[in-house]
Symmetry: C2
Subunit: 358 residues, 2 copies
Amino acid sequence: MSAERAVPGAFMRAEILEQPRVLAQLIAQPPSAIAGVAPLARRARFAMLAARGSSDNASTFGKYLLESFAGIPTALAAPSLFTLYHRPPRLDAGLVIGVSQSGAAADVIAVLNEARAQGALTLAITNTAGSPITEAAEHVVLLGAGTERALAATKTVTAQCVAYALLTAAIAQDAQLQRALETVPESVRAVLAHTEALEAAARRWRAAQRVAVVGRGYPYAAAQEIALKLKETCYIGAEAYSAADFLHGPLAMIEPGYPVLVLLNHDAAGAMTADFIARVLACGGDVLCFATAQACALLDNVPIGSGQLEVIALDVPSAVLSAIAFIVAGQWFALALALLKGHNPDRSRSVTKITVTR
Amino acid sequence: MSAERAVPGAFMRAEILEQPRVLAQLIAQPPSAIAGVAPLARRARFAMLAARGSSDNASTFGKYLLESFAGIPTALAAPSLFTLYHRPPRLDAGLVIGVSQSGAAADVIAVLNEARAQGALTLAITNTAGSPITEAAEHVVLLGAGTERALAATKTVTAQCVAYALLTAAIAQDAQLQRALETVPESVRAVLAHTEALEAAARRWRAAQRVAVVGRGYPYAAAQEIALKLKETCYIGAEAYSAADFLHGPLAMIEPGYPVLVLLNHDAAGAMTADFIARVLACGGDVLCFATAQACALLDNVPIGSGQLEVIALDVPSAVLSAIAFIVAGQWFALALALLKGHNPDRSRSVTKITVTR
């Protein structure tokens, strides 16, 4: 272990590579709480998701799934209303989910405590058996991802995404979503066959100080998580956008050479995302595109203008769940870029693995 | 008008200065739709807010108010689920609000159309009488802010924030919030008495390429809006954070001289925000703090470390509504910085005033 610790990024690298196995196990043997909570959740009028950091990004993915497959309007919690202002909303008709890798997030636990006291249906999603969050919620999903040692969360984030997808498929009784889930481990393996291309792309952006990360629809949550990973491990100003929001203002930032990482999906958001890429290239932007293999044709007629476009095609069949594969691609890219910049992504300046905010 | 157009920033400047009058009028004569919708909204199980760009930031403020004063769990809409995937959530028990300055935002209108078809209570908030959004919603709040000519939205954003506060006060029948609203025009006037200090601060950050903008609790929405304003007008990488989220990763980005704009409020979030400032200063960060006058004492014992701290104290009595005053301070700061950088904030590279996304 101490030898492993000596190699920068060794923990993060090992944990990224564990994901096909960790996710396959979670999908093959879903925690029993998922089947237990699903019939009760069908009666919820709304859902509220409480999380911080990477868990919050997984929860954005969860919002999209719960709204579009289970029909449940889903809000992300504003924890300060519970912990600081003591003015929580009425939660009795809702499903309230708290997500924390460590299970120690005090503000997430405060949301669950209040929700449970109000009579809401409460669920905790965590990687840590016996942690405080498992006491706060009535139902508990343990991810079983094994200890995560790197500072940057990897396998626990994708496991959280899978947990949201399992829960949504169970609530919606959606066999198609369930079958899509079964392709996820293979998709992640397919991404990990492109590590050289991801490292080459990182070399091209070695000097980047700021990056925009853009997705629309289901991959939007992946854009958020990749941006956070780049900030945590590479210390660069990375910001996530929906392609639609980007056109309302931020496009003005793009000048020649501005690095933009775009996630391109083979679904209804694909065509507008390809148009977005064309707009960025016309401004001279430097676009790195993670695309599902089936989406690549959307780029055939995109004019390069004065910009640059590099595409990494990933063999990912499910457009609904491609965010998970995109996150893994972003993890490897962030790891490679951090090492090129001379940082050790297993540790960090200023940030500790477990951050407790109230 | 053509003479005015010739002076860079003349429209934005004039529109910022109109705000005390525009907001005073809106507060003194609230649109009748607010009283009409309030009793119906009291029966809503949840709210969903649909908006893009600056209107989305005003809606984040609306979420905090609706949840904490009216008790209504409030989600921000994911428009792609309506417009691209055609898988909207169930909205019949909800209050659904669409916000668009121009009233032309196709995706916001699509959310309202779907919500109305499902039997939800629908409300449009817009500055443009007769615009398409006024046909989509059952109830319509017209802001009456007058034509906005600058590309960067200013008076319409603060008017949207006031509309959310008026609506919340009416739903919650909260006389205290109503009285707090009456202090807003004077607060904005107080901010506009500090234009010189804001311009001096802009000179100090003249060379900044990236900025973090941080708030917690009610001012969080103001952090989002100020970051967007800096992106639109100054073309710098500005990102908004909750102080709590910032500690979960992004703190690692802070290196000596990193510019961080912090909003400090005299409420329960104030103490942790002051602690946050101390953490940033310890990393050598360059902090510009917009603080309510009553919050300044929180900074008395903050060690400066290797960082820099500049405070602009603003005479803003309401901590719940201080976001509106902070937004105005940020507008003037962004205007000054844009002019120093040689940009004309009335126009923009790449972005048009009305952006229609689907």
